[in-house]
Symmetry: C2
Subunit: 346 residues, 2 copies
């Protein structure tokens, strides 16, 4: 298994996902600022992985500070890490837990240990969540299935196993999967670079298509279901995920293809009533203006670069979390899945 994030006691080891699939390179980060940069520039990406990385970033800030500066340094790190990327709620869920450790800390000496234990718990919970999601989600996959996925919700988007890809790989392990099809996922090509890489390494027969081919694919071939991850799920079951997800959901509904979202409970934000309240990150235009680093667009044109879109719950067949499968997502259902807001983040 390839890990997106690893804790090494005094540094964080991150897989540099910008370099895949052609270079498998790891960075060793020793400060929270380095971790914040890595989140912002998408060295580490994928909602659950971002949360885990951020938690370790806070530990690094505490580690490096003198005892009398430790609490302030940790609070500063939490604030800085929270400013990196706005859409994935797992980031804020992890930072909230780290903040509560600070709030209840009784001594600077024990603080580093407490922060580290919490970060490791966050990490382990994501690993366990991915494993449960993979198992539960695989139960939805029929025999001889052809499954479509988008972006990268795999081992490297999470702490291990993955969500959507965890389901796919588990279904493959159970002998149920004939083929996985992944969109390339412009502008950053997580599908072409990351998902194709993970699935091929896992031995899954995989086909790569451009984002524009999904309609023709569904109209002319049999797709048994769509499986995607999520960056944030609102209380009513609306899902924010990588740009292009909503388009696929509309096409899936049009062609009667089940549309499944696989995501840990830490992706759910019960404080948002619906998807219209989810902040959609706008990223730099160079991501659209270039392709694999080379300029492609004519000069003088303007750009638009929303990194996510919102899929309304009515287009979602089911949400698979580590606690269960929620068919026809609704607010009460999500609350049962993830617990009441006060209890939600332990």
């Amino acid at each position: 298994m390839t890990y997106s994030v690893e804790w090494r006691g005094d540094h964080v080891r991150l897989l540099d996902q910008r370099l895949l699939p052609y270079d498998e390179h790891y960075l060793e980060l020793t400060s929270s600022n380095q971790v914040a940069d890595a989140i912002r520039n998408m060295t580490v990406r994928g909602a659950p992985a971002i949360g885990v990385a951020a938690a370790y970033g806070v530990v690094l800030a505490a580690l490096k500070a003198a005892p009398d500066r430790r609490v302030d340094a940790s609070r500063d790190a939490i604030a800085a890490l929270g400013r990196t990327r706005p859409t994935a709620v797992n980031l804020f869920a992890a930072l909230d837990r780290m903040r509560r450790v600070l709030d209840s800390a009784r001594s600077a000496e024990r603080l580093v240990e407490s922060l580290a234990q919490t970060a490791v718990s966050i990490h382990q919970e994501e690993i366990d969540a991915s494993a449960s999601i993979s198992r539960l989600g695989a139960s939805l996959i029929p025999e001889k299935a052809t499954v479509l996925t988008h972006c990268n919700a795999g081992t490297i988007a999470t702490a291990a196993h993955g969500t959507a890809l965890g389901v796919i790989v588990e279904a493959h392990r159970q002998g149920k999967l004939e083929r996985a099809i992944t969109t390339e996922t412009r502008p950053l090509l997580q599908g072409a670079r990351l998902t194709a890489w993970e699935l091929v390494r896992a031995g899954v027969p995989t086909t790569l298509i451009t984002d524009s081919m999904v309609g023709h694919l569904m109209r002319t071939t049999r797709i048994d279901c769509v499986l995607v991850g999520a960056d944030r799920i609102a209380a009513n079951g609306d899902v924010a995920n990588k740009i292009g997800t909503y388009t696929i959901a509309v096409l899936a509904r049009t062609h009667h293809v089940p549309f499944y979202v696989a995501a840990p409970g830490s992706s759910v934000d019960l404080s948002l009533r619906s998807g219209s309240e989810i902040e959609i990150e706008q990223r730099d235009s160079t991501e659209v203006a270039t392709f694999a680093g080379r300029p492609v667009a004519a000069d003088g044109v303007d750009f638009w670069n929303p990194a996510f879109d919102v899929t309304p719950r009515r287009l979602i067949t089911a949400i698979v979390t580590e606690r269960g499968i929620l068919m026809a997502p609704s607010k009460n259902g999500l609350r049962m899945i993830v617990g009441c807001p006060g209890e939600r983040r332990k």
Copy 2:
């Protein structure tokens, strides 16, 4: 105006569309084989432009041959040019007309002249058709319009003016257009490289988006209509166009956005009852696996590369041809627009 194809009496001048937008380079071709290669490798592309180029390719074959070989050389050229790309019917329409000149030719001396005259007529008719289409289509565009287009149906896809882009530029000239939005159009990026280039040069405020953004765009902003070209239109009004068009048509229907197809009568193939009979060209996987020679996909993955898809007529609000606007396309309507099969190609 930039011309995709020009006849210079003893050679054909082609704009090399593979090099845009960064190089504006022209090739001077002197043989039908060179023209066939240029069509196959998409030096020249766009359904109407391909037809015009092929017609001149036949003239080149006749020009270069000794008088007693002229008819055979021309027939061979027609056959070879007809094997280049299967989907755009304009190619076959043009070659049919050149073949009829051969069939009725009375002397080898007059043959070159007759072929050249016919090719020039085909060319002029496409220019006139584009101008009419631009004018008629612009009447569909409301004031302060934001219009979405896909691929490149502009001056360089045709002999001049363009079809979908001809409408956009004419609407802009009339002061009705606030903004044009173009998808980049993977895998070959005709939207990013060609359409963005043409529209910026025509002074149209233009925004470039990835193909995956169309759903989010329509859901969150006002799009007044979609305008695309066509590579082949079946008798019932089903339209084959660049891959991704069908996806956009489904999204347009979902969001109540009018969907217009602008194409010359030479795009209509009354011999095909419906879109299911249109042959969809499959192109080399390197187009998906790479960009400009740079690999982007993980090793070991398979590819799919249909270059076109079919939009069923029920998703099309109107087809604009040089003879008129056909609302709610139907077989009788198209027959009236383009004439009966026997008369269709004069």
